[in-house]
């Protein structure tokens, strides 16, 4: 049985463009404690890859832009989205 704070949520993290190059990978699995928010994942990423903090990245969960307060669920697809530049 898992106690609060143990790893119980695994999300798929996708990284694109400049964020993919900084992290060195376009897709990873991230393990997080129960009830972790997107902000927690962001802080973990910025600690691991300080250059990401300079990119003004946004995040999407399950293909929609959401706030950093969003609680992550097991199996979520999280995307790290640097400033877009289509067109």
């Amino acid at each position: 049985m898992l106690l609060k704070g143990e790893i119980s949520v695994i999300v798929k993290l996708k990284l694109f463009a400049a964020s993919r190059e900084i992290a060195g990978s376009g897709e990873t699995l991230e393990s997080l404690p129960d009830a972790a928010t997107l902000r927690d994942l962001r802080d973990k990423l910025f600690a691991a890859y300080p250059d990401l903090g300079n990119l003004r990245v946004q995040f999407a969960v399950n293909r929609a832009y959401v706030s950093l307060d969003t609680v992550l669920e097991d199996g979520d697809e999280v995307a790290c989205i640097p400033p877009v530049g289509g067109g």
Binding site: A17, G86, G87
Partner: protein, 140 residues
């Protein structure tokens, strides 16, 4: 081309098939925006561009933009957006947006809004490649 309104593709894209999708009996006006790879940027010669997308989300966000357009200009009937990804050479088409309405007054403003929103929120990225380097570019 299949009748799909919002597409990210690595194949060559053209405006005509998109326009054909939109032409129907009720449409009196169809406008298109064709975005083309320019050979220079801020005084530097561009060799080619590399576009990258989060395709599943990009197509969903394009559909959201179409819904925004129809909410603001209710007489707009159809909206179609296709964006190419991968390596694009100078002169090739990167994006086509087409929309239709019964009459012409709103289509130009609606088209302008649509391309601005594509550049603002669709998860697609563009890297300029020059002879001596490269950089991800954003207008944000």
């Amino acid at each position: 081309m299949a009748d799909k309104r919002f597409v990210v593709t690595d194949a060559l894209i053209k405006a005509d098939p998109l326009v054909s999708q939109l032409v129907m009996a009720e449409a009196g006006a169809v406008v298109t925006f064709v975005g083309v790879v320019r050979g220079n940027s801020e005084g530097r010669q561009v060799l080619h561009l590399e576009y990258e997308a989060y395709p599943e989300m990009a197509e969903a966000v394009m559909q959201q933009i179409a819904e925004e357009v129809r909410a603001r200009w209710p007489d707009v009937q159809e909206v179609a957006i296709t964006h190419r990804v991968g390596r694009l050479e100078v002169g090739e088409t990167a994006v086509v947006i087409a929309l239709s309405a019964a009459h012409r007054p709103s289509v130009f403003d609606a088209l302008h809004y649509a391309i601005d929103r594509v550049k603002e929120i669709v998860p697609i990225w563009k890297k300029e490649v020059w002879a001596d380097g490269s950089e991800w570019k954003s207008e944000q």
